[in-house]
Symmetry: C2
Subunit: 248 residues, 2 copies
């Protein structure tokens, strides 16, 4: 549930806020966040998706919604609507070919704006795509947004275990329940001969879940379709996020 | 060359400082940084490798040098020596199983310490593995370290173009020459049947180099050997970094 507090005006209609995190970048965290939000929406839940990665917003590209400046009404920002989701991302606001390097305090302000000043309305779930990694920005966000739970995304290799550890510890520190670990890019099956290659190793996500005593939500294999879908902005719903949807 | 300034004591013996950057995480930036440093050292250059990623230091693991606390002498930190390189990383200092979330100003102090207070000695090259992405931390580092040049690492997909754009723009803004773009995970050849799969698309790195008018340094295919080497800490030198070594 949500810790209720008087200043959380635009969050009051939201039943559950789920953060999607990763210990490091490039593991498919945004992909899983998009898939989770879509899976929940397809199960009939009113769902929102907030991109809190101010430096590298990928949600607008993945959802095929570039160049859609959000509207305003009664001093609130209106979320962008696509594929049945209400969304917000700096990618909708800042022009794509004027790359900006925001300084720290500005980033915090923008995220605060997205949480408190976007007309989210009544939602069963708001999925927050955290910035990749477990640094200052992530910690601040977990402390400012009332999170119901968090999903940690990882790739299978040994070196990723420490990253999962850091992410799980961060959520423990701020008392946010870890709903589980998703192992993405779990293996590759050659479309030509069926040979299975564990390009990035295999099983590290499951090992991490057991070791850090959190649920294992499942594996997503390396599928060129997923990358093509992200590139084209036509999201596909991959298998494992259904289990995350079940947990949330 | 290096902009000489009186306070840069421990950097004075260094001829070239090359930063390895990425617009987003997980593209293999640390892998390329390690490979570039090793390639330079194998060509006979006295080379150092500095891990400036305080939140997710991967250099100690990739170089097989965990649990090697650096020594001190005359109030300077001594770099850790391995595979012919002088190295520094927070991973050598902070215990592996006590994940710490450093707050912003502390990160800046640590990086400053690594630059100014490590006994680097006389080096032909110091390779700096920047944190992934193009945020506040990266911009600050490019402004505090006198960089001779930067290499940008990317993966091939369309969505990565914007990330390369941001990285190139950042270096232009601080007047650091971009030595070129490396396209990592460029394609996968099935070891069983030879089928070539462009898992993460192909050619985006080359497109980016042409579009942003910087040299294209080459492609590195997806090789399970690379991932295994990183996991085991026995670095292998991949092909493309030789061209980066040539440029530097
Ligand atoms: N299971 C998968 N198979 C193939 N490509 C994937 C898979 N998961 C993610 N990708 C691709 O990898 C890239 C990085 O994914 P992304 O979700 O942006 O990672 P992160 O948010 O962790 O940085 C994207 O191009 C995405 O489409
Ligand atoms: N060309 C490649 N083929 C296979 N695995 C790779 C390749 N490049 C990097 N990797 C693996 O991908 C993971 C991420 O690489 P890393 O260098 O840590 O990325 P970054 O520094 O950009 O986050 C590591 O496990 C690494 O061994
Ligand atoms: Zn095959």
């Amino acid at each position: 549930g949500i810790v209720s507090a008087p200043q959380e005006d635009s969050l009051q209609g939201i039943k559950n806020i789920v953060a999607v995190a990763s210990g490091k970048g490039g593991v498919g965290k945004s992909t899983v966040a998009v898939n989770l939000a879509l899976a929940l929406q397809q199960q009939g839940a009113a769902t929102g998706l907030m991109d809190s990665d101010i430096y590298g917003p990928s949600i607008p590209i993945m959802m095929g919604t570039r160049d859609r400046p959000p509207g305003h009404r009664d001093q609130q920002i209106l979320p962008v609507l696509a594929h049945g989701l209400k969304m917000m991302s700096i990618g909708f606001v800042a022009p794509a070919n004027a790359p900006v390097i925001w300084r720290g305090p500005m980033v915090h302000k923008i995220v605060s704006e997205f949480l408190r000043n976007v007309a989210w309305g009544d939602l069963d779930y708001l999925v927050i795509d955290l910035p990749p990694g477990t640094g200052d920005a992530q910690l601040t966000l977990t402390q400012t947004a009332p999170l119901s739970g968090a999903v940690v995304v990882t790739t299978p290799q040994d070196v990723a275990l420490e990253d999962v550890n850091r992410a799980v510890r961060m959520f423990e520190e701020v008392k946010v329940p870890v709903l589980g670990v998703v192992e993405n890019m779990s293996f590759f099956s050659c479309p030509s001969c069926g040979h299975r290659e564990e390009i990035f190793s295999h099983g590290g996500g499951k090992t991490a879940a057991l070791r850090f005593e959190v649920p294992f939500l499942g594996e997503i294999p390396i599928l060129p379709d997923i990358r093509e879908a992200s590139d084209r902005g036509l999201p596909i719903v991959a298998a494992a996020p259904d289990s995350a949807a079940g947990q949330a």
